[in-house]
């Protein structure tokens, strides 16, 4: 059959296009477009593995209790790949164990925030009226305070230590989650399928758990990742000011503080933890952006 001129001009991808059009939109664009998700996710996974798994596999020098004879070794020294600090502790090992603290605090605080804040937000939205308004105003007051001020005040009262940092930052994190959860729940509660679920006989708590929550979860998770970056910075700040992990325990924050004091002599002491902190925060932010791009428009 003679081909029409227009047919001859079209590229021969119609079949592939037809096949691809059948597939869900996600996979149509190939892995290149998913890089914005995979790269930061990959970086974070690497960091997590390095901090939590690597010390179990490879024998690192201890992060504390180093010999003064090894003090202030430069980068690339044998046995101390990143050098040592002024009392002889291996920096690489301090970095990794300090990273454990940062990530543990990050997961714990965001986990508590997600669960408690999410619960408060969804409950407030489902009760509506005066109760909802009151709760939200109280939370607004807490959000209005600069996070670091509240966190430092609490840690000052509770004392130094990882658990105390977690509680302090949780107080800051919960109201923000509650606000996000509530706004999402308000949007979902007026949708027809929630009305239909109530009409089918589901009680209020059941509707919240099985209908409202799954539909706001993408927003909450995106927000959780974004907040994680802030939590990491807050934890480092608290430790920087000396309210965090008491020395000689390692934490990126107090490593930066110590490094700051000897900045001119041994810049590595300051730069190494700072750069790692930077990479972590940027990875978390980028990951959050990628998630928002994917889940941003919730029906």
């Amino acid at each position: 059959m003679a081909a029409l001129p227009s047919e001859a001009a079209t590229p021969s991808v119609p079949i592939a296009a037809a096949v691809m059009a059948e597939e869900p939109a996600r996979s149509r664009r190939g892995w290149v477009h998913s890089l914005d998700l995979y790269i930061p996710a990959g970086v974070l996974v690497l960091l997590l593995l390095a901090c939590f798994v690597w010390p179990l596999v490879y024998k690192l020098p201890p992060p504390v209790g180093g010999s003064i004879l090894d003090a202030s070794l430069p980068l690339g020294s044998p046995g101390h790949i990143l050098g040592t600090d002024s009392v002889g502790n291996d920096i690489m090992s301090r970095l990794l164990y300090g990273g454990r603290v940062s990530f543990e605090v990050m997961f714990a605080v965001q986990g508590i925030g997600l669960v408690v804040g999410g619960f408060i937000g969804v409950a407030a939205a489902s009760f509506s009226g005066l109760a909802e308004a009151t709760v939200m105003r109280v939370l607004d007051v807490l959000i209005a305070f600069p996070a670091i001020v509240i966190a430092l005040a609490i840690v000052d009262g509770l004392g130094a230590g990882e658990a105390d940092i977690i509680w302090a930052l949780a107080v800051v994190s919960i109201p923000t989650f509650a606000r996000v959860a509530r706004s999402g729940a308000v949007r979902v509660r007026d949708q027809t399928f929630v009305v239909a679920a109530r009409l089918s006989g589901s009680k209020r708590w059941r509707t919240n758990l099985r209908h409202v929550l799954p539909n706001i979860l993408p927003q909450l998770i995106t927000f959780a990742v974004l907040g994680a970056a802030i939590v990491v910075i807050l934890e480092a700040t608290i430790s920087f000011f000396g309210y965090g992990i008491p020395p000689p325990g390692p934490s990126w924050g107090n490593m930066i503080a110590a490094g700051q004091q000897v900045m001119s002599n041994e810049p590595a002491l300051l730069l190494v933890p700072s750069i790692v902190l930077l990479v972590t925060v940027v990875a978390l932010n980028t990951l959050s952006e990628a998630l928002r791009a994917r889940w941003g428009v919730v029906r």
């Binding site: 027809t192 399928f193 239909a196 109530r198 089918s200 539909n215």
Partner: protein, 383 residues
């Protein structure tokens, strides 16, 4: 098949029941038929809040509506957007409850009961919504969606529920193995609406309210879903409150039709009577606005189309709310609110100057030059 209520009670003005509603005693209908739903003086209003929460006017969505439904019948509710028909449906199921009035479902006033006590009664009173996708949780699977009422009312164990879900899906024309595991996003509009219907009938309700249930579907799919409604009515003995804005559609489906305008009932009667002999000018205008394949008929119809726009429901016109657009409006219509009166057997109108039957010639202005309605103007398939 449209049925007229077979009873040879005398036509003409009959004594009125409560609130102007013709009750079983007054209409002469066979008293064996059970009244399933009786709505008395229903009022639903919404407080308008301006920016900052400042109270604006009050939107009167449903004003003093009374009607009754019998078991096994399909009652159609027709009106423009803004006539209050959807609000009426929501008020009947108490979501949200009306400001005042009574909703007697099998004799029990739902308005008086608190939320907790209404819940067990809800299983007899279900609803199918307009947006097929909106009424289904996008993250749930079809099997779970249809099973939700069963789970909520703790009907049977898991195996029994699964069997019941499969049975329901087959009843509405879906394949449980293929469609059961899908999510709403993977269904077509008609399929999604079938799922909503399956969910609605899961608990064997007595009354199903269809709030524009087919309005957002393609015409062919509409016909299929309407056939499904009819089949379910026969097999399960359901009653329907069928709300739509398409008059021709409602005729196909309903035994009786209610016409609403701006929150008030204009006319209630058997669907054939409404179509052959509309008594309210608004009903006539709605009928005339149905497009006809014959362009000459359309021209005749268009001459009598009503002008103007729907008045604001916050400040409805005094007296008869339709008077601002009615070609027959006169002094009395401004001052006096028309009440529902029975002018023919089983056929009530709220109008001071109802249309004459086609045999008579109307004195005064506004007499239509074409017959009120002829069978040739029917849209859609005759049943």
């Amino acid at each position: 098949m449209t049925t007229l209520n077979g009873s040879d009670a005398a036509s003409g003005v009959a004594p009125l029941g409560i609130g102007g509603v013709a009750t079983t005693e007054t209409t002469g209908r066979p008293t064996g038929e059970k009244v399933l739903l009786e709505v008395r003086n229903l009022v639903q209003e919404f407080q308008i809040r301006n920016f900052g929460g400042v109270k604006g006017g009050v939107l009167q969505a449903v004003s003093n509506v009374s009607f009754e439904m019998r078991a096994g019948e399909t009652l159609g509710v027709v009106g423009e957007t803004g006539s209050g028909k959807s609000t009426l449906a929501r008020s009947v199921i108490q979501a949200p409850p009306p400001k005042s009035g009574q909703v007697l479902f099998e004799g029990v006033d739902l308005v008086k009961l608190g939320r907790r006590q209404v819940a067990p009664l809800r299983r007899h009173l279900q609803m199918v919504f307009q947006d097929p996708y909106g009424s289904l949780d996008p993250k749930w699977r079809v099997n779970d969606i249809v099973a939700e009422p069963l789970v909520a009312y703790k009907d049977g164990d898991r195996a029994q529920r699964r069997a019941r879900v499969a049975e329901l899906l087959e009843l509405v024309g879906l394949d449980p193995n293929i469609h059961g595991r899908r999510r709403p996003g993977q269904l077509s509009g008609g399929q999604a609406q079938r799922v909503a219907i399956a969910r609605a009938i899961a608990l064997n309700p007595q009354l199903v309210i269809c709030d524009e249930a087919v309005s957002s579907l393609d015409v062919l799919v509409q016909a299929q879903v309407l056939n499904l409604f009819e089949k379910l009515r026969g097999e399960l003995g359901l009653s329907y409150l069928f709300i739509a804005h398409d008059l021709a559609l409602v005729k196909q489906v309903s035994d009786r039709v209610m016409v609403m305008y701006l929150g008030k009932l204009c006319e209630v009667g058997p669907s054939e009577a409404i179509y052959r002999e509309p008594l309210h000018p608004y009903t006539l205008a709605l009928l005339r606005s149905i497009p006809d394949p014959d362009p000459e008929v359309d021209q005749v119809n268009m001459r009598e189309v009503i002008s103007g726009e729907l008045p604001s429901p916050i400040h409805p016109p005094s007296g008869c709310r339709f008077r601002t657009r009615c070609p027959r409006a006169q002094e009395r219509c401004i001052t006096e609110v028309p009440e529902l009166q029975m002018l023919r057997k089983d056929h009530l109108v709220a109008c001071h100057f109802p249309l004459p039957s086609s045999a008579e010639v109307a004195p005064g202005g506004g007499a239509p030059t074409a017959p009120a309605w002829t069978p040739g103007m029917t849209q859609g398939v005759e049943r």
